[in-house]
Symmetry: C2
Subunit: 144 residues, 2 copies
DNA sequence: ATTCTTGGTTGCAAAAAGCAAGTTAATCTG
DNA sequence: CAGATTAACTTGCTTTTTGCAACCAAGAAT
């Protein structure tokens, strides 16, 4: 399953992005990958939003098809599968951070994970660099 | 209909934002409001993505409930209704622009509306200021 | 050997999306 | 001023997607 079977609704980049990301769950999985470094099926399941396993399974499949993540078997434990974000996935950090700012400003019940936001706000370039670097290290470690 | 009947899935601002914006259509309506200055039902209908009228009707209702837009009767034509974005709506310009950048970078079939992006990129503060200013003028013009 | 853990799948009910057609009220047109 | 047209929806119906709970298979731990 490596084909991107999406037929885009229009050539507008917002619409194209939403063809991939436009639902209630996909960006939460991406958030978990980028900001909370979640890598295993169970990690995503344990997020506070409590995604159903069939939906999670479907979203991970679609994210893989859209090349936002790579699926690998854990070399240390053959029944575990590692979901690794790609560059395309990590580059969603800026839109997500802007959503965080908006949510924090306008949705009173939202509670920002302070240190993450502060680190991004202070120096977005360095923050992104760190994520990319640690991703490269992970990739080395899990080579097949 | 002025209540926000959402029960949020978690206190994470991303999740809170997606409770309001997380589907394939809502952000496209917001895009039309902010970047293409669409104000009438028919304008949104004519966007290239061809939203169905019942869905559009529903999304406009929900956006009003979430205080992202105001509904007014056009003083110049009593059968027309003007949908005006609020400050809360306009503040979605940064997340949307980041989605534009991402879409433009990664989705080959996407075609960026050049001048809009360039204007935002060159000076986001001025760009946002312009939108806000022209919104205030519109508000003056349509006072009841 | 059996129990637990991980990463799923399956089946079913409920909700949402999508399509076409119909409706109402205001306005233009001759 | 009658009839056609336009704007903004609504309704009914089918298809698709969600959400929940239960189930399952392979691998690891005891």
């Amino acid at each position: 399953m490596t084909k991107s079977n999406q037929i885009s609704r229009s050539s507008c980049p917002v619409s194209c992005a939403l063809d991939i990301l436009g639902d209630k769950w996909t960006l939460l999985v991406v958030r978990d990958l980028i900001f909370f470094r979640k890598r295993y099926f169970g990690d995503f399941q344990n997020s506070p939003e409590k995604i159903a396993t069939n939906i999670l399974s479907d979203r991970l499949k679609k994210l893989e098809e859209s090349h936002l993540l790579l699926r690998r078997r854990d070399p240390a434990n053959a029944r575990k599968i590692i979901y690794m974000p790609t560059e395309k996935c990590v580059d969603l950090a800026p839109p997500i951070m802007e959503l965080v700012r908006w949510g924090a400003k306008y949705v009173p019940e939202s509670n920002v994970h302070e240190n993450l936001v502060q680190r991004f706000e202070q120096d977005p370039v360095e923050f992104m660099g760190e994520i990319r670097l640690s991703l490269r290290r992970e990739n080395e470690a899990n080579k097949e």
